[in-house]
Symmetry: C2
Subunit: 358 residues, 2 copies
Amino acid sequence: MQNVYSYQQLYTFSKNIFLQIGCSEANAAIAVKVLLSADLRGVDSHGIARLTGYIRLWEVNRINANPAISIVHETPSTATVDGDKGLGLVVAPAAMQMAIDKAKNVGTGWVSVKNSNHFGIAGIHAMMALENDMIGIAMTNASPLVAPTFSIERLLGTNPIAVAIPAGNKAPFVADFATTTAANGKLEILQRKNEATPAGWVQTSAGQPSTDASEVRNGGALLPLGGDKEHGSHKGYMLGSIVDIFSAILSGANYGPGVPPFPAYVPMPENMPGEGIGHFFGAMRIDAFRPAADFKTHMDKWIDRFSSAKTVAGEQNVVIPGEPETAMEAERTKNGIPLQASVVNELVELGKKFNLSL
Amino acid sequence: MQNVYSYQQLYTFSKNIFLQIGCSEANAAIAVKVLLSADLRGVDSHGIARLTGYIRLWEVNRINANPAISIVHETPSTATVDGDKGLGLVVAPAAMQMAIDKAKNVGTGWVSVKNSNHFGIAGIHAMMALENDMIGIAMTNASPLVAPTFSIERLLGTNPIAVAIPAGNKAPFVADFATTTAANGKLEILQRKNEATPAGWVQTSAGQPSTDASEVRNGGALLPLGGDKEHGSHKGYMLGSIVDIFSAILSGANYGPGVPPFPAYVPMPENMPGEGIGHFFGAMRIDAFRPAADFKTHMDKWIDRFSSAKTVAGEQNVVIPGEPETAMEAERTKNGIPLQASVVNELVELGKKFNLSL
């Protein structure tokens, strides 16, 4: 069963929750905007369904509702930021804004962040660059669920990469993807339905191939994009590693198996090598390379050419990254956001704690 | 049958060839160093086996042996470079050096290049950053052999990405990979042996799954990393697209199906939207984020942890990107470079044209 809520309803509820845990008015507004952008864009696993999870992290003192976000090191085109244990939903937009400001000055800006937490969907942060006629880049490391090629151990998170690129008359190009064969959210959906995964998504705790959607819960692992060595899983492993290093070893955050978990009931890793979760952001001014109008003309041509490609019999068009999400956002802004009954129940319970009703 | 040649033999021969087509002493030396780095690192498909191909491009006037490589647009952290139809083997190191110089000044440097040609292996350009205690990034678009998810048409090249990251006592982390399930070189090896490919590498000209290593030659296509939608091929397609856009739409090079071919006998595409092939380079100074010594200490720890991961029964260790290539380089520098008989024959024929013997 699904219930449909308007954006405004969910916005007001979530913002009040963030205010109740002590966020400032401005930070609560930013956090909700980032959180609900996932619901609007159809990434249901990363939206309001996670609100309870964020609050649980606050309850066990793993999140600081009033962070003093600061630059600890910088050059004209770079900064290293300490998120002060803040919500990633707040720290990430602040850091991305710094990247944008630096790009305004010297063409590009690059910011590595330590001491943060989960930041919602990567794409929304990268997209902040668009209105400035910039290309935006966002990535984050995450708690270890992924086994590198040949490994039994889970050493990497799903470590997503987002790249947002402005176009002219067309919707922007927005790629936002986990560096695994499938995102954990997709696995959870199959788990709930009690269905098998395709081959190449997960392995058992002994490193053997499996199609059981519960493997990760049972000590198995998600697999890097590619699935196995023969199909290029070393490339997915490399991508996940690059995200880990840019996000955490540049900034001083935790990395590899030392990245803290999202569920508040999971104990923190032992011997953590850094502070919090790490992110990495980039902004490149288009006109630092060529006039923005020229670039956009060619982006529109690029999009036209790919959209109109001949497709395999029976298949849809070639999808331009971000197009389905742009369409979903328009649809849900107008018609509301459907929530699963289990998510609604969780939110109702969460509201009771703070005397708020959904 | 294989013949083994010393690096110095191949260096002298190749350099003389480049001098014969009119390269300057300095450019011939750079071109050979880049070209043979592929042979040393074990990427045999991109090394001296391609020398004849480069010379054929010069013969049909698609390569300018004496390019005036110039910056056509710049900011403190960016540049757009016109390669003047030069050898990519020469244009790429020049552009990467510009990125490094900008990083020295403002923390990072980013260079997009148009009007270039094939640049050899991406990794060697990214690695130029290492000796400067910088992270290096290199990518290039290439002629269309890859069908995006759902497409029958070949719209992207194998569009590789390389990222080189310095470590302390350990060998550097060097990722260098095509954004396809398998690089074209691997396909060519199977073709020669008349062997089938694994599933997920290629499709027929009608877009159907195939394991025939000759598909690409017969109008089929290589598949993006992931293989098919269920296994994440839209992610490989997004990665290839990002490389195409950064390399060509930022710079004004050709993109998508308009990228010129490597074989000189293949006609140029119609209605080309830009100039030549495009590349993109980045350099980030480590100490623009944190002291280089701290970074390297943690990179060594990262490498140690991943190297020592428990592995699947019967499998080798988790491989650190670049480690096998570093070992191969040491081995071949000492013991020489094995060349296939067919490559040797081609080189002997090439030498005859210029009165040079191998």
